[in-house]
């Protein structure tokens, strides 16, 4: 199978983007966008589709198996992980790779996602004291901890923009786990910040639910975090109910 890998590129320090096409041929049906990028960059002399020399493509990559979130980008217009995007599944020969748009572009497909981590600090998301782990909350804490902080949910969110007051779904899993585990005394400040930066800004489009590469049930986590932080409901009971309904 022969593909055209079409990349929206930008040189380091520049503000102009440009499109460059590369030819990628493979016989392997399971090749992903990450495979194609790795293969292109391992060529001793990379050339574009018309044979002109091109510099190596910058992109972030670490685990290649959907466990680290490094390689998030727009693939044929949809945010996702390059290591999770099987080329053959797109049913077309042109694969368009673009950097995520909600974050400043560093170079090519690499963007600056530091706002994700800054926002978690602003929300004061940590345990002031160690937790008293309860079995009941284990599944919820597990599901929350699966979040990769890749940013796909923010990319698709109609309400999020970097630097805005609304911090988006990527902060919710962390909040959910910690609210589930922290002592009642710690609730107050976290709840206030959660209401300000998450609850009041979320338009409930739930686009995040469909885009999450880990298929985290963002609606469930939101409902739980809202119940705990905003409605001050007993989270355990609520979670137990939502599990029973599955």
């Amino acid at each position: 199978m022969k593909y055209t890998i079409r990349i929206l590129r930008r040189d380091r320090g520049s503000t102009e983007s440009y499109i460059q096409d590369f030819e990628y041929e493979t016989e392997n049906d399971s090749d992903t966008a990450a495979t194609a990028l790795t293969s292109l960059n391992s060529r001793e002399a990379l050339t574009d589709i018309s044979g002109l020399p091109a510099r190596a493509i910058e992109w972030e990559c670490s685990c290649l198996q959907k466990k680290c979130g490094a390689c998030a980008m727009r693939i044929n217009g949809r945010p996702g992980l390059a290591c999770d995007a099987v080329l053959a599944d797109f049913g077309k020969n042109i694969i368009e790779l673009e950097p995520l748009r909600k974050f400043p572009v560093i170079c090519d497909l690499t963007v600056d996602r530091s706002i994700l981590f800054e926002n978690l600090k602003t929300l004061r998301l940590w345990l002031a004291q160690t937790s008293d782990p309860s079995d009941k909350m284990q599944e919820l804490a597990y599901e929350s901890s699966e979040c990769l902080q890749c940013g796909c949910c923010l990319e698709i969110c109609p309400n999020f923009y970097a630097g805005g007051k609304f911090f988006g779904m990527s902060a919710v899993p962390v909040t959910t786990r910690l609210l589930a585990q922290m002592s009642k005394a710690e609730y107050k400040e976290i709840s206030r910040l959660y209401s300000k930066h998450i609850f009041s800004g979320c338009g409930k489009s739930l686009a995040c639910r469909d885009i999450c590469p880990k298929k985290i049930d963002t609606e469930k986590l939101l409902v739980n975090a809202n119940a705990l932080a905003v409605w001050k409901r007993n989270g355990n009971a609520h979670f137990a109910r939502s599990v029973n309904n599955e």
Partner: protein
């Protein structure tokens, strides 16, 4: 001002940073990517501690004995004793930090793991590393907010300055601005194993280039036991890497077989009736290698998980099943999966004392980059433990006698590695350091690495070739078979070699010597 530099923000780096911060000591946490992208998030099966919650009368002594036996008595007994004594507290601390390890009524549930007769491995399905990392990341955030932990994101290790056996400074590069910083102060290396020497052939991260190890070796840092490379028995090739199928699959009842004369042959169960499929990883990988060489067994080795109960799939291995379906398009609950051994862990690395000091004053190392707890073969579940405990221990040592910390922007000439040289070095190393080794293959590999070294290659590639050569030399000089190091020309263990293979760079030469495993000589 006093501060400690930490290079690497996986489990050992985070553990070190948190330990320093708890003691009021500031640190710089330097990493090329955020902690969420570190290799530690890939760790699957679990973390060992003799918590004895399963009614099997497990003891710390047995954890110690199994670790020593698994490592073929090559590790330092004093260090393993400290590690196993502290293991219950390390694991409980992670649990209290909120890592959702599986529990019942507040007590951790433990699973079986290779090389251990009793249930001793705490776990979170098969995403234990990710769950522990999430808790540590959240804990570190508390100290980032207070200023005790200062992150240097997107910074990579680029160089080191040593005078008269003491660390002067390290050099790091900001990969965004391409600026170089020189940082003085005690420094802990937490850069992981040498995956980058075997690109595409390991279960680890592609972020690891192996360059940090090569630079440190070149600068005179001693390494030990480089010949001990763990091939994990159950990996599958996906594009760009080997994907691990956790030992938990066998811990929960998965069985290995090969077709022999058209019948399923459960070769591990036939040969090892007690531990069966849960023999230490080196033994299983080697048996797979042997069985595949037999003419009556022409096919692949399969991992059969089809008899696992739906309860186990749902509660203990759901993520593993999802992953296999996603990448192999096969459901392990319905059909056996073809597996083969793949490079998974480096027991060898920077030689450290029980306090995690290197031979360079002011320089410490912890986690997979350091050689300490795992001897000739690491037990599953001991790497997360070694990393969490090692990071903390290194931090405790680095807090003492702290020189002044400083930061300075400098100009620095960084050399770049060439893909073709990397690829040639990889092939040379794979030729010499496979599952079965002999002097002919090793001498051929050494001959090739010598030729490559003499070619017109960049400075960093020369450093890489030199460290690779040191690994080949170590494997050639160890004329015995022990743990993961199997020599067809010396198939037996020889206790003359119950010693560490210590290598050090000296100009263009490599000095190699064997020292007793428990020796703290010159450290």
């Amino acid at each position: 001002m006093k501060r400690v530099n930490i290079i690497g923000a996986g489990i050992s780096g985070l553990s070190a940073a948190i330990c320093l911060a708890k003691n009021g000591t500031a640190c710089c946490l330097i990493s090329s990517m955020p902690s969420e992208r570190a290799q530690s998030v890939l760790a699957e099966g679990g973390i060992n501690a003799a918590l004895d919650t399963m009614g099997e009368n497990d003891t710390i002594k047995e954890h110690f004995d199994d670790t020593m036996k698994g490592g073929c008595f090559l590790e330092s007994a004093s260090a393993v004793k400290i590690l196993t004594d502290n293991a219950p507290e390390v694991v409980m601390e992670l649990f209290r930090l909120g890592a959702p390890l599986m529990s019942e009524k507040g007590r951790l549930i433990l699973r079986n793991f290779g090389g251990q007769k009793k249930k001793r491995t705490a776990f979170a399905k098969s995403s234990t590393g990710k769950m522990i990392m999430t808790a540590l990341i959240d804990e570190a955030r508390k100290y980032e907010a207070s200023g005790l932990i200062k992150r240097y994101p997107h910074h990579e290790f680029a160089g080191i300055n040593i005078t008269d056996g003491s660390l002067d400074s390290i050099v790091v590069r900001d990969s965004r601005s391409n600026e170089f910083l020189s940082l003085a102060g005690n420094t802990i290396i937490c850069t992981g194993g040498m995956n980058g020497f075997f690109e595409g052939m390991t279960t680890g991260t592609t972020q690891n280039t192996g360059n940090a190890a090569a630079i440190l070796f070149d600068a005179g840092v001693e390494f030990a036991d480089l010949e001990f490379i763990q091939y994990h028995p159950t990996t599958v090739g996906i594009t760009g890497k080997r994907m691990l199928i956790s030992e938990a699959a066998r811990g929960e009842g998965g069985r290995l077989f090969i077709m022999r004369n058209n019948e399923k042959c459960y070769f591990m169960e036939e040969k090892y009736p007690e531990l069966k499929n849960l023999m230490p990883r080196d033994v299983v990988s080697r048996e797979m290698f042997f069985v595949k060489e037999m003419p009556e067994c022409p096919g692949e080795v399969y991992l059969d998980m089809t008899e696992l109960s739906s309860d186990i799939w749902k509660n203990k291995l759901s993520d593993l099943r999802k992953e296999i379906i996603a990448y192999l398009h096969k459901d392990p609950a319905a059909e056996p999966i073809a597996v083969s051994p793949g490079i998974h862990f480096f027991m060898g690395g920077i030689r450290v004392s029980d306090r995690h000091e290197t031979n360079i004053r002011g320089l410490f190392a912890a986690g997979e980059c350091a050689c300490k707890y795992h001897g000739a073969n690491r037990l599953g579940g001991n790497s997360l433990l070694g990393a969490a405990f090692g990071g903390k221990t290194a931090a405790e040592a680095a807090m003492k006698d702290m020189p002044d910390w400083s930061e300075e922007r400098i100009s620095f000439e960084q050399s770049v590695s060439s893909p073709s040289v990397r690829s040639r070095l990889k092939d040379i190393l794979l030729g010499g350091l496979g599952i079965a080794r002999d002097s002919t293959r090793l001498e051929k590999a050494l001959d090739e690495s010598g030729k490559l070294y003499r070619e017109d290659i960049t400075a960093i590639d020369r450093m890489r070739v030199r460290l690779g050569t040191a690994a080949l030399r170590s494997a050639l000089e160890r004329k015995e078979s022990r743990g993961s190091h199997y020599r067809t020309d010396y198939p037996d263990k020889n206790d003359k070699y119950r010693k560490l293979t210590v290598v050090k760079s000296a100009g263009d030469d490599i000095i190699l010597r064997f020292i007793p495993a428990d020796s703290e000589e010159k450290l």
